[in-house]
C-alpha cells in the first residue's frame, strides 16, 4: 500500500478525531495508534493528540532518541528534554486549538494583514471546573496559538498563575508585549460550572486599525425557552482532527527550531514571571 505512513499517539476524543481525519485524507495511511509510552512502528511521521504535558515531553524525548519525526501539542516549560527535542528539528509543536476552523481562519486573516496596524490580541479559554484538562497545558496551547497567529517575538511578559476557586492552580493570566508593540492578553480558566451547558468556551479577538477579527469557535448552542425557563445545550463540539492534522503535517514539512525554541523560552519567562510576581524581559 502506498501513501504517507502516519502513526498516532494519544487518547480520547482528540485521538479518535485525528484518526478519522487521517483515514479520510487521500495520500495518508494510518499505520498504528498507541498510548504514550511507545512509538507506533513503521510511521514516516507521528502525530500526538490528547496528551498531558508530562507525556508530551516524554514522547518528544522518545522521538529524539529514535530519530522519529513527531508533531506534539506544546511542551511544558519545566523539562529540559523538551528543549533538546525542539532544537533537533525532529519535533514540532502544534496547538490543539488549531483544530478549530474559526481560529485557523483568524490566524490566516491576521497573517494576510487584515488588521492594518495591529493593536492587540485578547484570548480567553474557559473550560469546566472538573475537566481533566490541566490549566498549565491549556495555557501552553493558548500561548502557542497566539504567538503563531501574531508571528512576532515577545519582548516583555507578565503572568499570574492562581488558585482562585479550587486548591490547585485553576487560572492563568498573561500579558505579553511583542516586538512589533502588539499587546497580547491571555486568560485560561477552569471557570465553567461543572455540569453546566457549556463544556468549553473560547473567545479570541484580534484588534487593529482596519479590523477586529473575533472568533468564538465553541459558541453553538440549542436554546430552548419553555415552561421550565431557559435552557441552553451545547451537545456537540466541532470536530478538531482535520485542521489539527493539516497544521501538524505542514509544520513537520518545514520545521523551524528557532521559532519552536522561542515559544518554549516565552513559556519559561511566563512561569518565572508568575513565580516572582514581576515582568520579565526576553
Amino acid at each position: 500500500m502506498n501513501g504517507r505512513a502516519i502513526g498516532l499517539i494519544g487518547r480520547g476524543t482528540a485521538l479518535a478525531s485525528l484518526a478519522r481525519a487521517v483515514r479520510e485524507q487521500p495520500g495518508l495511511r494510518l499505520v498504528g495508534q498507541v498510548e504514550p509510552g511507545a512509538l507506533p512502528p513503521g510511521a514516516d511521521v507521528v502525530v500526538c493528540a490528547g496528551l498531558y504535558g508530562y507525556e508530551r515531553v516524554s514522547v518528544a524525548a522518545m522521538a529524539l532518541e529514535t530519530g522519529c519525526r513527531l508533531a506534539v501539542p506544546p511542551l511544558p516549560a519545566t523539562d529540559e528534554r523538551g528543549h533538546e527535542a525542539l532544537a533537533s528539528g525532529l519535533v514540532v509543536q502544534v496547538s490543539p486549538l488549531l483544530g478549530y476552523a474559526p481560529l485557523r481562519e483568524l490566524a490566516e486573516r491576521v497573517h494576510r494583514g487584515e488588521l492594518g496596524r495591529r493593536y492587540g490580541l485578547f484570548a480567553a479559554y474557559h473550560f469546566a471546573r472538573n475537566a481533566p484538562t490541566p490549566v498549565d497545558d491549556a495555557f501552553a496551547d493558548l500561548l502557542h496559538y497566539a504567538l503563531e497567529a501574531l508571528e512576532s517575538r515577545p519582548v516583555e511578559v507578565y503572568a499570574r498563575r492562581s488558585a482562585l476557586w479550587t486548591q490547585e492552580a485553576d487560572t492563568w493570566h498573561a500579558i505579553l508585549r511583542l516586538e512589533d508593540e502588539t499587546l497580547v492578553t491571555l486568560e485560561v480558566a477552569a471557570a465553567l460550572p461543572a455540569g453546566g451547558p457549556e463544556p468549553e468556551r473560547l473567545l479570541v479577538e484580534a484588534t487593529g486599525s482596519d479590523a477586529v477579527i473575533r472568533a468564538e469557535p465553541t459558541r453553538q448552542a440549542v436554546v430552548s425557552i419553555g415552561r421550565g425557563g431557559m435552557t441552553q445545550a451545547v451537545p456537540w463540539m466541532p470536530e478538531p482532527g482535520e485542521g489539527y492534522l493539516e497544521a501538524a503535517l505542514a509544520r513537520l514539512e518545514r520545521p523551524d527550531p528557532p521559532q519552536e525554541l522561542r515559544g518554549l523560552e516565552t513559556l519559561r519567562a511566563l512561569w518565572a514571571a508568575a513565580a516572582e510576581g514581576r515582568a520579565m524581559r526576553i
Binding site: R117, Y119, G120, F122, A124, E156, Y158, R160, S162, L164, W165, T171, H173, I175, R177, E181, L183, T185, E187, A189, A191, L192, P193, E205, T207, S209, D210, A211, V212, G277, R278, A279, R281
Partner: protein, 359 residues
C-alpha cells in the same frame, strides 16, 4: 417641594450627551439655572437648548451665584479639583464626573473641602447607576456565584465614538490643537479616561481593596500622545483578580461594547453587548451596527438615576450612594496602571500612597 437649582460647568460631550438631557428629564426636581464653559459659543448654545437663564465663560461667576444649590462638573479631570473645591467653599453640593481628579492629592483635597464645608460630594461613576451593573451587583450580593474571585471587563470603542451621536459640540481642543483627551498636557490616557470605570467595577464586585496592578499600554492613534490601549491584571487583598483590555481606536462602525465576566467560587455571571446589539445590518461589504451606542448601557437612564440619587441625598441629607472614597480608590488604581505601564513592572498600591505619587 422646591426644586433644587443646579449649575453645570463644562458643556461638552458628556454634558450634552448625558447630563443636560438627564437634568431636563428630572425637571420636577431640578432646575438648570446656569452653565459655564470656556468656549463661549458652546456655553451660550447649551444654555439656549436646555433653558438655562445664564451662561458664563468663567466658572467662578456661576459658583458665585447664591441661588445655586448644586454644581455639576463635566470638565476634563485636571480641572475637577480646582472647580469642586471652589464650589464646596461656596457652599454648593458637588456632583463631579469621573475620573475624580488627575492625582490622589487632588482627590483628597476634594474630599476634605466637602467635609470642611458640610456639602455632599459624589463622583459620577455612571456604571454604578447602569441597570446591567446594578443587576450584577445584586446577584453578587445575594450570593448567586459565591465569593467573587475574578472580574474581567473588556471595553471596545470605535474611533471618534461620539461623532455618531451628532452632538452640537465636539471635544475641547485647547489652543486649537488636538482634543484634550489625546494630549499629554491634559490627559493620562485610557487608564483614567475609560479604565477608571473598570477599576471601580472591580472593587465594587470583589468588595476588596487592591494590592497591586500590572498594566501594559500603548498609543495606537497616530495622532495621539497618550495611551489609548490598556491591558492590566489587578491583584486584590483577598487574592481575587481583575482583568481588563481597553481598546479605543477601533474601525468606525465597530460597536461600542463591554464584555463583563464575574467568576465566583460557585458560578459565573456574564454581561456582554454583542448579542444584544439592537440593530445589525448585513451587507455584501460587511456588517454594521448602526444602533449600538447609548442603548446597550442604558446610558440615559444611568445618568438620570445617578443625578436623581444625588439630588435625593442632598434633599434628605444622607450620604451619597457612591462614597467619594470609592472613586478615590478607583483613581488610585488607574494612576497605578499608568505608573506600571511606564515602569514595565507591577506597582503596589501601598507604594503609591507612601510616595504620595498622585502627580
Amino acid at each position: 417641594m422646591r426644586r433644587l437649582r443646579v449649575g453645570l460647568i463644562g458643556t461638552g460631550t458628556i454634558a450634552q450627551s448625558a447630563h443636560l438631557p438627564a437634568i431636563r428629564r428630572l425637571a420636577d426636581e431640578l432646575e438648570l439655572v446656569a452653565v459655564a464653559d470656556v468656549r463661549a459659543e458652546v456655553a451660550a448654545d447649551a444654555a439656549r437648548r436646555y433653558g438655562a437663564e445664564a451662561w458664563y465663560t468663567d466658572y467662578r461667576e456661576l459658583i458665585a451665584r447664591p441661588d445655586i444649590d448644586l454644581v455639576d462638573i463635566c470638565t476634563p479631570e485636571f480641572l475637577h479639583c480646582e472647580q469642586a473645591v471652589a464650589a464646596a467653599e461656596a457652599g454648593k453640593h458637588v456632583l463631579c464626573e469621573k475620573p475624580m481628579a488627575s492625582t490622589l492629592e487632588e482627590a483628597d483635597a476634594m474630599i476634605a473641602a466637602a467635609r470642611r464645608n458640610g456639602v455632599k460630594l459624589m463622583i459620577g461613576h455612571s456604571r454604578r447607576f447602569t441597570r446591567r451593573y446594578r443587576e450584577v451587583a445584586r446577584l453578587i450580593r445575594e450570593g448567586a456565584v459565591g465569593e467573587v474571585r475574578l472580574v474581567r471587563e473588556n471595553e471596545r470603542r470605535p474611533r471618534a465614538m461620539y461623532g455618531r451621536l451628532d452632538l452640537p459640540v465636539g471635544h475641547w481642543t485647547p489652543e486649537g490643537g488636538r482634543p484634550w483627551l489625546a494630549s499629554s498636557a491634559y490627559s493620562q490616557g485610557a487608564a483614567l479616561t475609560n479604565a477608571v470605570h473598570e477599576t471601580d467595577l472591580a472593587r465594587w464586585f470583589t468588595g476588596q481593596e487592591a494590592v497591586s496592578i500590572y498594566a501594559a499600554a500603548r498609543i495606537t492613534d497616530p495622532a495621539g500622545e497618550v495611551p489609548d490601549f490598556l491591558t492590566y491584571v489587578i491583584t486584590f487583598a483577598g487574592g481575587a483578580l481583575a482583568v481588563a483590555e481597553i481598546v479605543n481606536q477601533l474601525p468606525a462602525d465597530y460597536p461600542y461594547y463591554h464584555m463583563l465576566e464575574v467568576v465566583g467560587t460557585e458560578g459565573l455571571i456574564r454581561a456582554a453587548d454583542p448579542p444584544m446589539s439592537p440593530l445589525e445590518v448585513w451587507r455584501p461589504d460587511g456588517m454594521a451596527y448602526p444602533l449600538n451606542f447609548g442603548h446597550l448601557l442604558h446610558v440615559d437612564d444611568a445618568y438620570r438615576d445617578e443625578i436623581a440619587a444625588f439630588v435625593r441625598c442632598v434633599r434628605e441629607d444622607r450620604d451619597p450612594p457612591l462614597d467619594p472614597w470609592d472613586a478615590r480608590q478607583a483613581l488610585a488604581l488607574s494612576i497605578a496602571a499608568v505608573r506600571s505601564s511606564q515602569l514595565g513592572q507591577p506597582v503596589l498600591l501601598a507604594s503609591l500612597e507612601a510616595q504620595g505619587e498622585g502627580a
